[in-house]
Amino acid sequence: MKYLYCFALLLLAVPAQANDKIIRIYQDADLSNHIESSMAIQKGIEVAFDEIGNEIAGYKVEFKYLDHRGNVVRSKQNYGAFLSDPNGLAIYSGIHSPPLIKNRAFINESKALTLVPWAAGGPITRYPSAENWVFRLSVDDTRAGPVMIDFAMNKKSCEAPHLLLEDTPWGESNLKSMSKALSKHGIAAPDITRFGWNLKEQGARILIRNIVDGGSDCIVLVGNAVEGSIITQALVDLPVEKRVPIISHWGITGGNFHEIITAEKRKNIDLSFIQSCFAFTNAEQTNFSTQVFSRLKKISAGTISEAKDLKSAVGFIHAYDLTKLLIAAIKQEGLSGDIAEDRNTIRVALENLKTPVQGLEKTYEMPYSVFNADTNVNAHEALHDSDFCMAHYGKNDEIFIIEQSSE
């Protein structure tokens, strides 16, 4: 018994000794309600690090995923855990913008190196400080909104679009960008409806019926998969002649939307949503993307064999590309072992990447720079207008890009 006790102590001591050689990559995301998007992000991170053998600058890379379930307070608590971890180098966000927006000051003041592969809220990366700790490689509402509005007005021939936005800072940021875009189409005062989280079926039916009966001929939706699926279901429940097209933000693709609004239901509605332009389902795949997918297949242990198997693929794509940028930054500056110093070093390195980085969306050249609220508001945005496309679901729930935003 005495020897067994000593052995147990020894086993416990080993990881303690290896602690110095670890960097821990965190994710603070909604692992409950929008788990598909969160898991896609995790896979993107893991595949990118897998390419370098999960080791960088002499540090083994470990991953720790925390669930904020969309709650800003819990997200802040998760950040607390990250910040207190002496090996926690960077923290990825998930699908929701509100935690990032609400806690933006805290994040920046706490010097928490935050990488955003999904959340689209405009203010997220626009902390009014040169020392900006949040880097995004995702759709940015400030630019996604106009893309969606243009698509609705031009491609879907909307004349009376209805802005259906969740009552959150994310919805708020979209309201601004979309209102601005609509004004360009001659609609100064668009119809707007806000909805809260936890919207239920009955509320959604009332909401949709009011919109349709109010004369709107299309719905521009900003919401996540949970509420998005309830709203879309309410539309599906309407008579065919009353159904109007939905042009959605990409939040609906972050969860099990495709399982609730199945392909069969989707046949009878006109649903399109914004995505970044790369997709594994695109007809043309490069060698690079093929290799990345091969690696994905390899580490997913058989759960993913085709492009359609990868749900919320945009999360994977953005996370992969963002991780590639992180790796490049680490490689560029190295790690000191002082986590606070390393976080700042990497932050600075991200703003000063010297070499182009090959990603799935594109090859990134100086994707980030030092933020300036007046002169460089997109300094921490890796994607641009040209990187946004509209997409739709395929029969097998895969996502097909249908239009280049640049068109």
Binding site: S32, N33, R69, G70, N71, V72, V73, R74, K76, Q77, P98, K102, E166, D167, T168, P169, R194, F195, G196, W197, N198, L199, K200, G203, V226
Partner: protein, 988 residues
Amino acid sequence: MTIKTSIINEQNKPVLQVLVLFLIGFFLIMTFLAAFVLIPRINQSFEKQHLQDSEITLEIEVELFKRFVENYRTILQDLANFPVITSTVLLSQPDNSDFIDLVDNFSISGEKSRLVLQDIAGEVLYQTAQNIKGDFSTNAPWIKPLLNGDESFNFQLLEQEGEVFRFVLSVPVMYHNNIEGILSAEITTPLSDIFSPKTIEEGSAFTLRQGDVTVKMDVSSMALPRKIKTYLAVKDIELTYINDYTKVIVEQNKLRNMTLIVLFFGLAISFIFFSVLAYRMLMGTEEDKTFHKNIFSKSYTIPLIIGSIGIAASILAYFLIQNLKHQQIQQETLAANNLVIQSIEETLISKASTLNSLKAFFDASQHIDRIEFKTFTAPFFKEHQDIHALEWVPKIEGLQREHYEKLARADGLAQYTIKEANAQGILEPAPLRDVYFPVYYAEPQDVNKKILGLDSPFNLRRVEAIKQATDTGDITAAGTFPLLQDEQKKTGMLIFNPVYSDALNYIDAQQRQEHLKGFVLLVLRIDDVINPTLNKQERETLISLEDVTAPQKPELIFGSYDQNSINVDLISDNTIEIFGRRWKIKAFPSSNPYQNITSFLPWLVLVGGIIFTVFITYTFIQLIRRREIIEGIVNARTKEVKELSSAMENAVEGVSQIDYKGSYIYLNESYASTCGYNSKQLVGENWRKTIHPDDHEMMHDAYMAMFDHGQVTVEPRGVRKNGTIFYKRITMIARYANNGEFIGHHCFMSDISDRKKAEEEILNSNSELEEFAYRTSHDLRSPIISSVRLLSMAEQAIHDKNNDIALMSLSHAQTSLQKLDTLIKDILALTETKNKEEEPKNINIDVLVNDALEKMEHMEGFERLDIQTEFQFKDNFCAKETRFNMILENLISNAIKYQDPKKENPYIKISTKNTNGVFIFEVKDNGLGVPKDQQDKLFTMFKRFHPKVAFGSGLGLYLMKKSADVLNGEISFHDHGDGSTFRLSIPL
């Protein structure tokens, strides 16, 4: 009843009475069973049932309370599920106008809601009013379990303000089955809204307790509140159902009194019934008496029943009245007890607010100096005169001891040092320790000066209390012990309230220990708590206070009582849980109030009832005894009469009663049968019918003589019904009524025929004897004298030598002597006939007649007789042969001897026949016959009708008559004109 009775015929009356008796008996048995078996059982069941009912009520009320809470929880949960609420907590963004509109205008049960929204960190995001009560701090112990999903809601009971119930209900804000925040509502509602109105209307009350907070309804009106507690499965809520046990006692008493009343009236009715029964038994008809005797085999059964029932009824009445009095006293005593208990409870509970105020004082200030402490505590002593001391006991680390001691000395306490009591109770400086809990401030200082500096850990109980108070944060009492600062060393109680370094609530004991600043300490002298309360009471009530925190080791704190000397039903007790301890308070009267019952009414009823019962019973017993005496006399008389009657009935002599008219009114069988009647035939007949007419005059003379002498005896001849005559001896005794009036006479009669016959026989015998003597002397002397003369003549002749004359004389003398010989033989035969005893046997007539004829062949003239025989009956004739043969031979020889020589055809006819059961033997001849004038003397002695024809003794026919008598027969003579017929008749 009347109608029924009227239609019941007399035959059914006994059945009805038996039925009534049965029913009364049944009723009494059942009532006694009810009183002594069923009622105690029912009371036990009643109490058990009451407990069960209370438990059920409690369960129902618990369920109602749960539903009440659940109802509010549902309302609140529905509100929490509003998307805007969810968004607000998820986004931590309470400035949303939709949200604010919603929560600010939301109402719960018609009242504007008072809501608090907290995020998952416990931070208050929004509250609809600033003064919402309840603990909403981030460290509130209820938050974590709620956020973790361990609890589905939280219930915080708030301090009571009047008869309203206030609580805070908290529910999680859910988003897709995940908890994202907490929504709470402070709810105020009347207590009566929670619990069943009916239960409250019936005088029940409820208490809700959660931790230190207790909400209760007014129970002051309850004389004997009885509590049943239950803990709700969640929220550590204790719900107590309180009902007035007096009601149970009242119900039990009602039941008991009702039973006693029923029993009493049952007994009273039975008493009356049996009294009437006894009266009827004593005074009623013979039929009633017989009936009652049949039912009650013993005469004294009914009086005994009456006595038993009457005494039982009296005792019952006594108990009934006594019970009512006891009941009243019991209720008054219990009410007084309860008042005392409640008062003591409230006194103790009120100390908590004192301690909390003092604690709040320390919480609100970084430092409180000695003057401030004195100033702050001064009002408490005015308000609570039972507080012996209020103290501040800081936690002092070992290294700070000297610093604190210096500060205290600087405050003017020159001798201040941290000290402890040694084994002898003498205070001495405390040894070095890591931490001290000395009395630093103590007010009033003048009486508590001695204990300033006293380190609390010197006593194990204090150590335990300090630890418990520190770890729980609750007010904790340190049991009881003699107070060092008290001259009289009276028992005191120390109550600690911990003060921490800040006002936050700490989750665990370790945090509390780390942040402990010290204690505010309240010292109570038990006497001071209890005695003022007792002194206020009108009744002299005693108290025992027992610490039962450790149930297996209860400790008496105050008072004592001898359980055996106090009626259990006069003791009230209640166990209170306060200051971390359990105290059982018992209140009881100082003396047995039952002993002070001075009412004479029950005794009056008891004694009066018993006296009345004894009187009635005694009366009946006396009546019965008198009746028994009379009955005894009557029975004796009856027995005598019966015996006399029986004797008379069975007497040989006849007895009769003859009225003054001479008619038989009674006669016994002997009398009647003697006269040839049965008794009934002669009743009403005149006496003359039974008296020979020739003797009527004799009877008349005797009757008259009876008037003169009261009685007379006479021997008249009686006449039987069949006309036959008999002699009877009659004794007549005159009968007179009580008024002296002659009403007739008794007539005692005996048949004296035999005596008369004997007398006649004696007379006859005397005559015969006289005649026999005369005849014998004459007939015997005559031949002797004749022979003597003849012999003298013969002698003379011989002398004279006259041989002829001599011979002739001798021959005559010989003849005379032969006659004498014959005479002597007949006399001998007569004697023999009288004395000879012989058994009857079958007689062959043929043989006897032939033998007789053969013997008589040589008699003179035999050969000329025509002897004829005709035996029609000759078989199966049974008689004494010698007698019969003597008669037969005499009759035949007489017929031969006295044949008529003149007749040419003399004959003798010998015949036998059976005529109507009578054997007839006849000898008929045509001989000389019997002269008519002598035929009536035919069968007398010495009668010779033809002496010249043949010599005879004259005894032959007499002898035949005697022999015929011996044969129970009769011999008779018939003169048929040509001779004689002798007939012997013997009944077969």
